[in-house]
């Protein structure tokens, strides 16, 4: 039925204890019967002692079990249990006394057997009370354990174990060895009794209760002790269970520790408010450091801070003022005073405490105690909260007494203020990090959108090959290239570069794409395109922005291209027949520089004939201006040389060759601090 692992040890022990007690009672009655009738009962006194020891052990096991189950209970609950056990045992003892008083000298009143039954009952209850209280004291002594205390306790336990068996040596006599043993155990008890660290954790009210409980325990112990002595002196009792060293030592220990605890608790009463205050401060401090949660607001932090400061300094009134620059509000900035009193006191504070500009950037000004001449309030403490080099808020604490803020208060309030500032700062940093993350996401979207503005597929006939590449210095950039097929034999290529880089350049690049795709549908030629593009862009570019562009209109029937350049980097033209490359020189002003019809005087177009094997390389200045650590630029000549050297390669190979050379040139420490793009065309 019952599994081994689930044995109710407590109940078994209790059952055994009762069993042993009954056996003890029986044995003793038999012995008394023998003694009265001068018969040899055949039961030696050792049997009594063994049963007595067994009884102590089982009672100990029962209570140890109970303590083990209730180890989480608070002190008062446990002490109360001790009190109730004690009261029960003591009242049982007193009741016996009363009964015997009533019985007087009647037959029953003098009956040794009945007397012995009562004696055994009282003995059992007294033992139970003493063992329970000892275990209670153990719990209290070991509340804040260290190795030394644990060792002391173990010595005490071993000595008690020795005392348990002392009866075999001493045969229940109150001789010198008994007194010697008792003295040793009392000394150990006194040594243990200084471990009273549980007392400061009680609050004021709990201390009062504890005093009462300890008093009751000592009272019960006293009554029971008196009764034990009394019954020990009665001549008509042949069997003595209570002149036992173990029991006497328990009395001693219970009483000594109870007395010490009582006195220490009593003397701790006046200072308990200080300890409670420190505990509140620690809790407040923890609250301030915990309120960093992103969903909590700065207002809550300040609210907790204001309350903490008031309780730490026992202020009569206080208020908090926020820097007018802050965007949030504190719900109830005034504590225990009204707006008009605040204004009165505010006018009494020195000017330097009213400023919102911190005197020192690095450190918050020290909390400042000020004497004020107000009808009700005599002293004030001003605390500034410095967050990110500006004053977030100031707290003014006021008291009705003069010089009401001592050094400790100012110190703890300063600590509170700093912790609150850290909380607010962390809170802001966290929000900033979240915001930054969002911007990064937005930029990624912008990057994706912009990539889509550059053509994936470049329009071209079978008569020439083409490829293009673009890279941005930031997430988005201002380089632009595109193609357009006018008809079967006419193709337009464009390469553009917006001044500056980054987001603003990216917007203008998008405008350039719109301008190109609209104007080119009109079938206009390069110079006219530039003219119209300049007119259109003049309306939408910022005053200090411009766009440069190169445009080619390729005619695959006549093997020619018409070209115009608007301030853009000249295009490199490799001529197969001459086996050499040159930059096409043609005049042209950037778009958006001259914003009136006179622009047409600044742009021209020219038609060139190309041959099979000719190559055009359109560039942006990012390639030319790629720089080594020394400051040397990639420049025109290097590109020229690369193209001449690799002219037999396909456009895509040639393009890769240029990009690789550029990266090799700038090296790890150099930089390409601009967007760069190129487009390579090779005629078949």
């Amino acid at each position: 039925m019952i599994k081994n692992s689930a044995l109710p040890l407590g109940r078994i022990s209790l059952f055994l204890a009762i069993l042993v007690w009954l056996a003890l009672l029986l044995v003793d009655l038999v012995r008394i019967f023998g003694m009265i009738n001068n018969l040899d009962s055949g039961v030696s006194e050792e049997v009594t002692w063994i049963l007595e020891i067994l009884f102590f052990i089982f009672i100990y096991l029962v209570y140890r079990r109970i303590f083990w189950k209730n180890k989480q209970s608070d002190f008062l609950t446990l002490i109360w249990r001790g009190v109730s056990t004690g009261l029960f045992a003591a009242s049982a003892g007193l009741l016996t006394e009363v009964i015997y008083l009533a019985l007087g000298e009647s037959k029953i009143g003098t009956d040794p057997f009945l007397r012995n039954v009562f004696y055994h009952i009282n003995f059992a209850l007294t033992s139970a009370f003493l063992i329970f209280t000892t275990l209670l004291w153990k719990h209290l002594i070991l509340y804040q354990k260290n190795k030394q205390v644990v060792n002391q306790w173990q010595v005490f336990e071993l000595s008690m174990l020795g005392a348990l068996f002392f009866v075999f040596f001493n045969h229940n006599n109150l001789d010198y060895s008994f007194l010697f043993g008792l003295t040793i155990l009392l000394v150990i008890s006194i040594l243990l009794a200084v471990n009273l660290k549980w007392i400061p954790y009680l609050n004021f009210k709990e201390k009062w209760k504890t005093l009462l409980f300890l008093f009751l325990i000592m009272g019960c112990a006293g009554v029971l002790f008196y009764r034990v002595l009394d019954s020990g002196n009665e001549g008509n009792l042949q069997i003595n269970l209570t002149d036992n060293l173990f029991l006497m030592a328990l009395f001693g220990f219970v009483f000594v520790y109870g007395l010490f605890s009582f006195l220490v608790t009593l003397f701790n009463l006046p200072t308990s408010s200080v300890f409670e205050q420190k505990l509140t401060e620690a809790i407040n401090f923890q609250k301030l450091s915990q309120s960093i949660q992103p969903e909590e607001s700065e207002e809550q932090v300040l609210d907790i801070l204001l309350d903490s400061c008031i309780s730490a300094s026992f202020s009569d009134s206080a208020w908090i003022e926020l820097n007018p620059k802050e965007s949030f509000q504190v719900k109830n900035p005034l504590r225990f005073l009204d707006e008009s009193t605040k204004t009165e006191i505010r006018s009494l504070l020195p000017q330097e405490t009213q400023s919102w500009v911190p005197a020192s950037m690095a450190e918050a000004p020290q909390a400042q105690a000020i004497r004020i001449a107000h009808a009700n309030y005599k002293s004030a403490l001003v605390v500034h909260l410095l967050v990110n080099k500006s004053i977030l808020a100031r707290i003014v604490l006021i008291k009705e007494v003069k010089e009401g803020f001592n050094k400790e208060m100012i110190g703890i309030i300063g600590t509170f203020a700093r912790q609150a500032c850290i909380s607010v700062e962390n809170h802001r940093l966290l929000n900033q990090a979240i915001e930054n993350e969002r911007y990064q996401e937005e930029l990624k979207i912008a990057q994706r959108v912009q990539k889509a503005l550059l053509p994936l597929k470049l329009d071209h006939p079978a008569s020439f090959d083409i490829c293009a590449y673009s890279n941005t210095a930031d997430e988005v950039g201002g380089d632009y290239y595109d193609t357009y097929q006018v008809d079967e034999t006419h193709f337009v290529l464009i390469m553009g570069d917006v001044s500056g880089k980054g987001t603003s350049a990216a917007f203008h690049m998008a405008q350039m794409k719109g301008v190109f795709q609209s104007l080119i549908q009109l079938g206009i030629h390069p110079a006219e395109f530039m003219n119209k593009a300049n007119a259109a862009l003049s309306k939408c570019l910022e005053r200090n922005h411009f766009i440069t562009a190169s445009i080619f209109e390729i005619d695959t029937v006549n093997n020619s291209f018409c070209h115009a350049r608007a301030g853009h980097i000249p295009t490199l033209w490799y001529k197969a027949d001459k086996k050499g490359a040159d930059f096409i020189s043609i005049e042209g002003l950037g778009l958006g520089i001259v914003r009136n019809p006179s622009y047409k005087n600044h742009v021209q177009e020219e038609t060139f004939e190309y041959r099979s094997g000719d190559i055009l390389v359109l560039l942006t200045d990012g390639i030319l201006e790629g720089r080594k650590e020394t400051g040397e630029q990639f420049g025109y000549d290097r590109i020229k040389k690369i193209v001449e050297e690799h002219h037999q390669k396909s456009p895509i190979q040639l393009q890769q060759e240029i990009i690789d050379s550029l990266h090799q040139f700038v090296g790890g420490d150099g930089m390409i601090d601009d967007d760069y793009s190129l487009m390579v065309v090779k005629f078949k």
Binding site: D497, V498, S499, G500, K501, G502, R543, N544, H545, F546, T548, A566, G567, H568, I569, P570, E587, G588, L589, G590, I593, V594, R595, H602, D621, E625, G631, Q633, D673, D674
Partner: protein
């Protein structure tokens, strides 16, 4: 890195550019130009002897004042640019709109012509 020095010589305001003008510091150049114009300059010279590099953003600053110069009759010239920087002005076509001269004395004679 860009350092700007302003020198007043008679009726001439000289703005000396030392270092490099790029997207990050073109704002400083713009501020200086604006200050000089607000103080009623009539003859503005840019000393580019120590200018190592100018990006398109820097060119944009000069460009944005061209209308102001012609409207207010302010004479404007740049002198002392190295070849590389001169090339940048030329490619954009700004050399047609801004007087770019080799040295200070040429700039002053040009400026003295009506």
């Amino acid at each position: 890195m860009l350092q700007l020095e302003r020198i007043k010589e008679g009726n001439k305001d000289i703005l000396r550019l030392i270092g490099e003008v790029d997207a990050s510091n073109s704002v400083l150049l713009d501020q200086s130009m604006q200050e000089i114009l607000q103080q009623g300059a009539t003859f503005l010279l840019i000393d580019g002897n120590q200018l190592g590099y100018i990006s398109s953003a820097g060119l944009g600053v000069f460009m944005s004042y061209l209308d102001d110069f012609s409207e207010q009759g302010i004479r404007f010239a740049i002198f002392g640019l190295n070849d590389q920087v001169t090339e940048v002005f030329k490619i954009l076509g700004l050399d047609r709109l801004i007087q770019i001269v080799p040295d200070k004395s040429t700039a002053i004679t040009l400026g003295n012509e009506p």
